[in-house]
Subunit: 452 residues, 2 copies
């Protein structure tokens, strides 16, 4: 064990030896002028934010299967062409079509109140007459198991304290199954968000057991807590839930793609992108219009500066991340034979860029990319390459072809999940200067990667 | 001038002389044990918060003219009786009945979107077919004046940056008149709140000019900003506004009153209260269920401790503060011949108590009450008597009979207006311990005032 540690220490010493520092310094000096030019160009005006705002305002929510989404995709393609990208095209993707229809949730006892709600993606609807039943509130899966005999014929409400998104979202995704198996007639979950503000937050759910599907929807933090209080004090709330949710046949949609081609005959491709679709309550400004516009505008920026690269930059606006990842899967299938150097996704909100994440636990790529840090510090002293993950949409291709994948990490100080999948994810939540910093971080990273 | 300053300095010196310090010390020593007992009792459990939550959850919003309000008032009266207060009664008040009816606001151009909205109190409704018109966005009254020739036949939208509530609310209250005078067919105002979160915030408006009334409603910060962006980029939004708002004949309601009677034959009365009514989007937990429950429970607490006082404590749950102040006016008329020692209101949210405010610029009362400060520090070192104001409901009586009026100031760090008059003003926003601190601050203040 001691010997191993010694070898490891030796490795670390070698790794930080002057020879490497010299390489890093040489790399920095070679690229610092272009990096500074890229950053200055990214920060020069608010035109990228204006495009982001135009798309969100004009086309609204971009949910898979809607005319809104297709209108926005057509605009993306036109705008990429106007931006002068190469080989702009729409690549066919068949996407699932889950439709919300009309829906409402009304408390009938102990008093009448409208409860804001949102059906969850893939949920079935209710019968035409809705579902009217007493409520049984649980604080988690354990609590549900402990009260298994009390939920038959009832609407189970998961009043889950929000600790983290990863914890809370388990009930959104997997809440229906166990409730159904114990005989519940529907299930409602506290929206996965650290704050309430009477916002429901949507998202996808899944049925494991196709034999006992029940409607599954999210209500607000306020109402989940209220139902919990009522049960504690011995009141028995009665709720009517009405949902027309349905799954229709798949429809044709598209990934929108544009490039900055290289002249290098040994061309390999760097993909950057976000997802074009969004949930249907807000206009998906953070999630993920920002990722689309930031990555595409980063490619345009480098092209406009006339910087020659030995690799092609390809901006991909992946469709249907939210409820199917069909865009990411279709890309992997369609481009499996093309040589890819790297893929980078932005899908964590347009807050101040805080890290370039290396996904898939790829330690060799992580070690290699430390050379970027001194140049990333031109944007912000705290911006470094760190372990992390890439993104949902680049996952299928990067795993299939073992391609290094990166993600832009941003620091929203917890606010990302204030807006995520809710009605408040609108462009006023994005600061134009911060958005430019995201573009700068992406443009610098892909420029440097192309020059490795 | 120098002579005057010298006299003033002498006055200040006298005022802070040892004789006064001795008085203050004697006052403190005389009451410190009771003050500590009161605070300990206020902090001992969450029963007051439970009552607050029960009322908000069970009866919902308490808007003037609704069955909800009357149910809540009946519960208040029963609960005060169960709490053992003296002379519990409902005192008749005729209140205005403005009804919202169904209402909606839809953007038709450049794309179709539902805009969350709330009609403003006293507004007229639209014709049955609604009002469909192009939008003209202004950033303030000056901007409206400068564009007076452009608003005829349009829906004016006030997209006002929120600087303070006092500034923003001018457009909610007075926005319809000038728009109507320039020929607008309706007016919409950005909700008076520092944050968006897609919440509309209601409140009252007024018409100065009865000849040119137009419907007036609030939209969300998000949508006001979006319409402003659209106009800037040359898009012309078209909106359909539909409001059934109407004003019906006045209805009978009540101030709910309960007391802790003194045996003192030279009895004078200390009134403490909040307002029982709320706007209709949330459940008015901060505004002003908290003021009602905190003041009434402060009186109960002193009575339960068996502390004898030389003055009567009277808890008054004033009705209809939000759109008429009829409860405050009726109280002033009904009790004009009774000797009042002081009136105190809590109507600024149940955040940490930060100050006891003396209203009506009453410097002599302010000077007199400095003696409370060392005892208020038993609750929090920063809690002092300061100049400020009392409250809307105690205003008519305190001005009419020249009665000292106090208000409980709380420090919500700006969050009060996140929730104010909106759907998010619910009891989960109130911390039980902080609520108890408010009760302690009120109970200590009225106990000390009764002993002056």
């Amino acid at each position: 064990m001691i010997i191993r540690l010694t070898i490891f220490a030796l490795f670390l010493t070698l790794f930080s030896m002057p020879a490497h520092s010299d390489d890093a310094e040489e790399f920095k000096q070679k690229h610092i002028d272009n990096v500074r030019m890229i950053i200055a160009s990214a920060m020069k005006d608010s035109s990228a934010w204006e495009s982001l705002a135009y798309m969100c305002d004009t086309y609204g929510p971009r949910f898979s299967g809607t005319k809104n989404l297709e209108n926005a995709l057509a605009w993306m393609k036109r705008s990429m062409e106007e931006d002068g990208l190469d080989n702009v095209r729409a690549e066919d993707v068949m996407i699932p079509v889950w439709v919300r229809g009309n829906e409402y949730c009304t408390m009938l006892e102990p008093s009448v109140a409208k409860l804001e709600m949102t059906g969850l993606g893939r949920s079935i609807g209710t019968p035409k007459e809705g579902i009217t039943a007493e409520v049984f509130v649980v604080t988690g899966f354990d609590d549900l198991d402990a009260n298994a005999d009390k939920v038959k014929g009832k609407i189970v409400v998961y009043d889950i304290p929000y600790i983290s998104y990863g914890q809370a979202v388990q009930y959104r995704v997997h809440g229906a199954d166990p409730a159904a198996e114990y005989g519940a007639v529907a299930s409602l979950v506290r929206s996965s968000s650290p704050i309430g503000m009477n916002n429901p937050h949507s998202g996808s759910m899944r049925y494991k057991n196709p034999d006992v599907k029940i409607p599954h929807a999210a209500i607000t933090a306020e109402d989940a807590a209220m139902l919990g209080r009522m049960q504690k004090r011995g009141q028995t709330p009665v709720i009517k839930l009405y949902m027309e949710a349905d799954t229709l046949p798949d429809a044709l949609s598209a990934n929108i793609v544009g490039e900055y081609k290289t002249d290098n005959p040994n061309d390999t491709i760097i993909v950057v992108g976000g997802h074009s679709d969004s949930w249907d309550l807000g206009t998906g400004a953070h999630d993920d219009a920002s990722g689309c516009l930031a990555t595409w505008k980063a490619v345009k920026l480098i092209k406009d500066l006339g910087i020659k690269l030995p690799r092609t930059l390809r901006a991909v606006m992946f469709v249907n991340e939210e409820n199917g990842v069909r865009g990411g899967k279709a890309y992997a299938e369609a481009h499996k034979d093309e040589p890819h150097a790297m893929m980078l996704e932005m899908d964590g909100g347009a807050f101040p860029p805080s890290r370039i994440m290396v996904g898939n636990k790829n330690d060799s790529v992580l070690a290699m990319l430390q050379i970027f840090n001194p140049l990333l510090h031109e944007i912000d002293d705290s911006l470094n390459v760190v372990p992390g993950w890439g993104g949902v949409d680049i996952g299928p291709m990067s795993r299939q072809n073992n391609i290094p994948c990166l993600g832009l990490g941003t620091n929203g100080e917890g606010k990302y999940f204030w807006y995520h999948h809710g009605p408040s994810d609108t462009v006023d939540k994005i600061d134009p200067k911060v958005f430019n910093q995201c573009i700068a971080a992406i443009a610098v990273t892909i420029y440097l990667y192309a020059n490795l």
